[in-house]
């Protein structure tokens, strides 16, 4: 009735009539504006900060430095190593040094320019290999953030038994999220001194904890509300403006808005990790993979953020969606004086997909096997074992996804300068080998509606709509019976972050559980025997209001610290993309003409929303492969950092495979990141088909492609 239907988004109407009020649109009586003063140094000591001129500016309320922070001056999802305001030491270009609070934005920005900061420059380490070899430590513990390994079988022995071994090194560059809405948030104290922050975010409960540490206030004294959020893609998982707005509101006792310009967003926001990936892959004569060795070196920038997660995910997914009996992966992350790299759609897997998919094509070429065929031969299927030793017993629709694109692959016709390429992926849904729960609850409201208390953040991907569909299906009630109470740490439970493609699967299952409890309550109360919901609700609110909880934590195990063996995810999404490109031989400009995208999503709760994710993923994959490269101190705004426009978009044919996941709500898994992951890889294989040139470095923009063409 609701699941499998392309229902309209619950928030589409307000957004098309111009009533989508985002955090930066909020206004409050007496609202001040905060601007962050940032270091324009890669690596330095702060010699002195002179705020006198800024403070003397008319309209300036206060200037803050790290000394004004009442609690802990450090945040981060795993390691609390990133200062809100630098305490004497600068580790990246753009690091916050001070904050100027003024009556309005114009004054705050002008006064921020009058801040005088003197530095003693130090030699910057702008490369992970330099950082690995250097005796200069960016952090006290050294420059190695982490090393993750996945070891299975005996790769050395398998190498001896291989018919062909391909070794290549691949690299990718930093990518910015470029969510259209820059970071913004408004914080204010209420009469009791409680601090509320309304911001553009992907996770309210995590930010509540961070702000509580920052202000040294108990968590219940902090309230975080998610404003409609103009895209996230991982970039609004870390604390962005919330800490600054909360600090300023706490110290000044008035509402304070912090809203970044695009330039500030690009300076401060985390980036996609550049990875350097050395791959050695062996195969037998019949095309079966025999072993894979990968050495992955990543640049996490100045602070840890999600670096450890990316290193681990890259290691666990290094084989791609294939059966490889012998695996040895070592994945290391180093600190450098580059921008902080964090979570970005795919957590390292778009990078590794570029490597393993190029390797698959190189093996196919060496063995004279069709590229689709070699993927079919090695495809993970029911009963297969992954590199971490996990046996996949259900919902493994990869082979079916390959079959979906097979007709198009077989009918492809190269003309002129066109070429065709394949890209495949698998992606573990949710966090890696750690508990990853979601909770939600339902209440009965006196006016006769069901209160749907949802802490999951809809950042544009459509979780509010999809989760509402799951609830309605479970309840068997009409659409208008449910009132969404969402995105507020006061009224909702922790549903985890909107990341790792996890909300439909994990929170969706929690919603399903809560819905089932409520359904049986309603049945007990006679909903099927003609009793109205309104009647049941008004009786229930008299009883003190029952609450119906939903909770789900996917069954996983922790990974062995040495071998990486274990069950990191309860379920995986699978995808295969086929891309047609055309490369102009004179200019080396590559145009993506057509994409066939097949995705095993378990169950498409809302097929149009799934397609929307795939289209958006294809666009981001085109940017990743062909144009996007964030260069510290040079990529300043959208005039020096390009993302795809409508002119860059190909026609996209989607194929939805629904190999249902038994632990998921109505069989659903996730699609947010999978949509992007295989796209870049398939473009690179298509460029090779079109030109005979294989690129090993992303983005493969026309400058790089021209250089490669000259060498041929």
């Amino acid at each position: 009735m609701f699941v499998g239907e392309s229902l309209e988004r619950v928030d589409a109407l307000e957004k098309v009539i111009g009533k989508g009020i985002f955090a930066g649109d909020l206004r409050m009586e007496g609202m001040a504006f905060g601007v962050i003063v940032r270091a324009e140094r890669f690596h330095a000591r702060i010699a002195s900060i002179d705020a006198s001129e800024a403070i003397a500016t008319e309209g300036v309320v206060r200037v803050l430095t790290h000394k004004d922070i009442p609690g802990a001056n450090g945040y981060g999802v795993l390691k609390k190593d990133q200062p809100y305001l630098a305490a004497g030491y600068i580790r990246f270009f753009g690091e916050p040094v001070a904050m100027v609070i003024a009556q309005n934005e114009r004054i705050a920005r002008e006064a921020a320019l009058r801040m005088r900061v003197d530095y003693e420059d130090m030699e910057p380490l702008n490369d992970p290999f330099l950082a690995a070899a250097s005796t200069v430590n960016i952090h006290k513990g050294g420059n190695l953030l982490c090393r993750k390994t996945v070891i299975k079988g005996d790769t050395k022995r398998a190498e001896g038994q291989s018919h062909v071994v391909i070794e290549r090194t691949y690299s990718t560059r930093r990518v910015d999220h470029v969510f259209l809405e820059c970071e913004a948030g408004l914080a204010f104290p209420d009469q009791s001194g409680r601090i509320t922050v309304i911001s553009s975010t992907q996770n309210i409960h995590y930010k509540q904890k961070e702000v509580s540490r920052l202000l040294s206030l108990p968590e219940e004294r902090i309230r975080i509300i998610q404003a409609p959020t103009g895209g996230g893609f991982g970039g609004k998982l870390d604390v962005t403006v919330e800490g600054y707005a909360a600090l300023a509101a706490y110290l000044t006792g008035r509402p304070v808005m912090v809203r970044y310009t695009r330039e500030e967003s690009m300076l401060s926001n985390t980036k996609r990790h550049p990875l350097y990936m050395n791959y050695r892959t062996g195969a037998a004569k019949d095309g079966r993979l025999t072993f894979l060795e990968a050495k992955i070196t990543g640049d996490t920038g100045a602070y840890a953020s999600y670096g450890e997660v990316v290193a681990l995910r890259a290691a666990v997914h290094a084989t791609g969606p294939y059966q490889v009996p012998n695996v040895h992966v070592e994945s290391s992350m180093y600190f450098t004086n580059n921008p902080v790299c964090g979570a970005m759609r795919g957590f390292g897997i778009p990078q590794t997909a570029f490597a393993h998919e190029s390797q698959m094509d190189l093996l196919a070429e060496a063995l004279c096997i069709d590229p689709l065929e070699i993927r079919k031969i090695n495809a993970l299927r029911k009963g297969s074992e992954t590199a971490t030793g996990q046996v996949l017993n259900h919902s493994v629709g990869f082979y079916d996804a390959l079959k979906c694109i097979e007709p198009a692959w077989k009918e492809r016709k190269k003309t002129g300068n066109s070429g065709f390429g394949l890209g495949c992926m698998f992606y573990g849904i949710g966090n890696t080998g750690v508990p990853n729960p979601s909770a939600c609850h339902l209440t009965l409201m006196p006016e006769g509606k069901i209160g749907f208390h949802l802490g999951a953040c809809d950042i544009g991907q459509g979780s509010d709509t999809v989760l509402t569909q799951i609830l309605l299906e479970t309840l068997g009630l009409e659409k208008n019976c449910v009132l969404l109470v969402k995105g507020d740490s006061d009224t909702t439970r922790d549903a985890g972050s909107s990341s790792a493609s996890r909300q439909t699967y994990i929170t969706g299952k929690a919603v399903f559980e809560a819905g089932r409890k409520l359904r049986s309550y309603l049945e007990e109360k006679g909903i099927d025997k003609g009793r109205s919901l309104k009647d049941i609700c008004s009786e229930a609110s008299g009883e003190g209001g029952p609450i119906f909880d939903g909770f789900f934590d996917p069954p996983t195990t922790s990974l062995d610290p040495v071998t990486g063996q274990g069950i990191p995810y309860a379920t995986y999404a699978f995808a295969a993309h086929m891309t047609e490109v055309e490369v102009d031989p004179a200019t080396c400009v590559c145009r993506v003409k057509k994409v066939h995208a097949a995705h095993d999503v378990g169950r498409a709760i809302n097929p149009d929303a799934v397609r929307g994710q795939i289209f958006g993923g294809v666009a981001m994959g085109i940017g990743f492969a062909l144009m996007e490269e964030f260069i510290p101190s040079r990529s300043k705004s959208l005039y020096s950092y390009y993302i795809p426009t409508s002119m860059d978009m190909p026609a996209v044919e989607t194929y939805l495979v629904e190999d249902q996941e038994p632990t998921g709500p109505y069989g659903a898994k996730g699609v947010g990141e999978p949509a992007l992951i295989p796209q870049g890889a398939s473009i690179m294989n298509a460029i090779r088909d079109a030109t005979g040139i294989r690129g090993f470095e992303l983005p493969c923009n026309f400058e790089r492609l021209c250089l490669l063409a000259e060498k041929v």
Partner: protein, 152 residues
């Protein structure tokens, strides 16, 4: 300071403004037209697109004094009479909205296109919205929505 008079979504509007203010700032701060979004402030993203005498302009690059004597339309205009414009309806139906931040600017570019050409080709639609960035949708469902609206 300068006084400007203009038509804002079909109604007379007046303001005393500093001559360095952009149309984006004046629409948002003086007239509370919050559908006009800032995405970059330098005329690259199109989130602030409004119509100035029926032609799409980036409000962040347009000085507000330029609007004096002109007709200015924003997304609010499209459903002014209380019913959705076919474009808005098509955006809702086609899944053209994800995060929604680019939506108002996108609608204005599409509206300007349809004012000029009642049945645009796919290529015209593609070009018509090419000055508006969207990071969520890959533009496909937006282009479908514009096409659907053009056939009504």
């Amino acid at each position: 300071m300068q006084k400007i008079c203009f038509q804002l979504n079909g109604e007379k509007a007046e303001a005393e403004i500093e001559d360095y203010l952009t149309l984006l700032e004046v629409l948002r701060d003086r007239f509370s037209i919050l559908s006009v979004k800032e995405g970059c402030g330098i005329g690259e993203c199109g989130a602030c697109t409004v119509l100035l005498n029926e032609r799409p302009v980036y409000a962040c690059l347009t000085l507000a004094v330029k609007a004096d004597g002109c007709d200015v339309k924003t997304t609010e205009y499209l459903s002014k009479d209380g019913t959705l414009h076919p474009l808005q309806e098509a955006f809702v139906k086609s899944g053209a909205v994800q995060c929604g931040y680019c939506t108002p600017g996108m609608l204005m570019s599409a509206y300007a296109l349809l004012q000029e050409e009642k049945t645009p080709t796919e290529e015209m639609i593609r070009e018509g919205i090419s000055g508006n960035l969207c990071r969520c949708t890959g533009y496909i469902q937006i282009m479908e929505a514009v096409k659907d609206a053009s056939q009504i």
